[in-house]
Assembly symmetry: C2
Homo-oligomer: 139 residues x 2
DNA sequence: AACACTTTGCAACTTTGTTGCAAAATAAAC
DNA sequence: GTTTATTTTGCAACAAAGTTGCAAAGTGTT
């Protein structure tokens, strides 16, 4: 729904533009996390690289998407499904990257367990990323 | 000890060279994880960028150092203290990155808890990275 | 429709990482 | 210790990834 996407943008005090609409639409229709390069390809090179960088940055700031750290050091982005807001993410779920098909899953219903840290340490964020084989590739 | 470092290299079937010796020495004398750029600076630009890339890659392959994924997408490297071997890492510990001083700690004695994955998924690796304030910065 | 404000695309640039190859260094053989 | 075979290094050239300034285009408001 086009209007629904515009709603999300407006709710976050963002003006409704082609690039933002298309990229947000892409995220919503995609089952897995996306890398910058994926977005570039899947929008059929419709937007400038710089615009995509800036759009993703804005979305992360607004709490519309969150980033996923990976072992091979590529940045991945996925929709926030929890109620994240401006500068305040709380996507406390586990991520799984399939080594075979490369798909990254947000395991929304699996939350990151509490981890005890040494005296004096204060934890602000915890990322838990697993990798291996997904159910589709594990034939 | 110079000889000790040479020993480690030989044990891993690596020829003893200046760059490998210096970089390994640097890791052993450093309490925190190092980024490529750190190594470049701390060896006072003694070695070519390419050599550092190749040395790190070799060390990771041999199980001498392991990588740490980070939220801001920079690769960090730290000494393996467990008995990792050629192509078989088992550094099952938590990492902590201080947002204030930037230091990354290997919390060797805190192991990553088991996490249940959905039916059909097979986990091969789990990374758990926390960030916040370390004991030194939490005055 | 006119205006103020925001976003975009382009160009130019920096930073990061990769590859091929000849010269230098290391390890093994003599 | 010298010669030889093998590995490693540095350089150059390149590719990919990310950043910045700025004019032109687009958006939202009156
Ligand atoms: Mn997620
Ligand atoms: Mn570690
Ligand atoms: Zn898969
Ligand atoms: Zn600190």
């Amino acid at each position: 729904m086009k209007t629904e996407i515009a709603e999300i943008l407006k709710r976050n005090q963002l003006s409704v533009t082609d690039s933002r609409t298309s990229i947000l639409e892409l995220f919503r229709s995609s089952k897995s996390a996306l890398a910058h390069a994926d977005i570039e390809k899947k929008t059929s090179e419709q937007f400038d690289r710089v615009t995509i960088y800036r759009t993703l940055q804005t979305f992360v700031e607004k709490g519309i998407v969150h980033t996923i750290p990976t072992a091979d050091n590529s940045v991945l982005y996925a929709l926030c499904k929890d109620n994240c807001s401006q500068g305040h993410h709380h996507d406390n779920h586990v991520h799984f990257i399939c080594d075979d098909c490369g798909v990254t899953y947000c395991l929304e219903h699996i939350s990151i367990p509490n981890v005890q840290v040494p005296e004096g340490f204060i934890t602000k964020q915890t990322d838990l990323v697993m990798s291996g084989q997904c159910d589709k590739c594990n034939a």
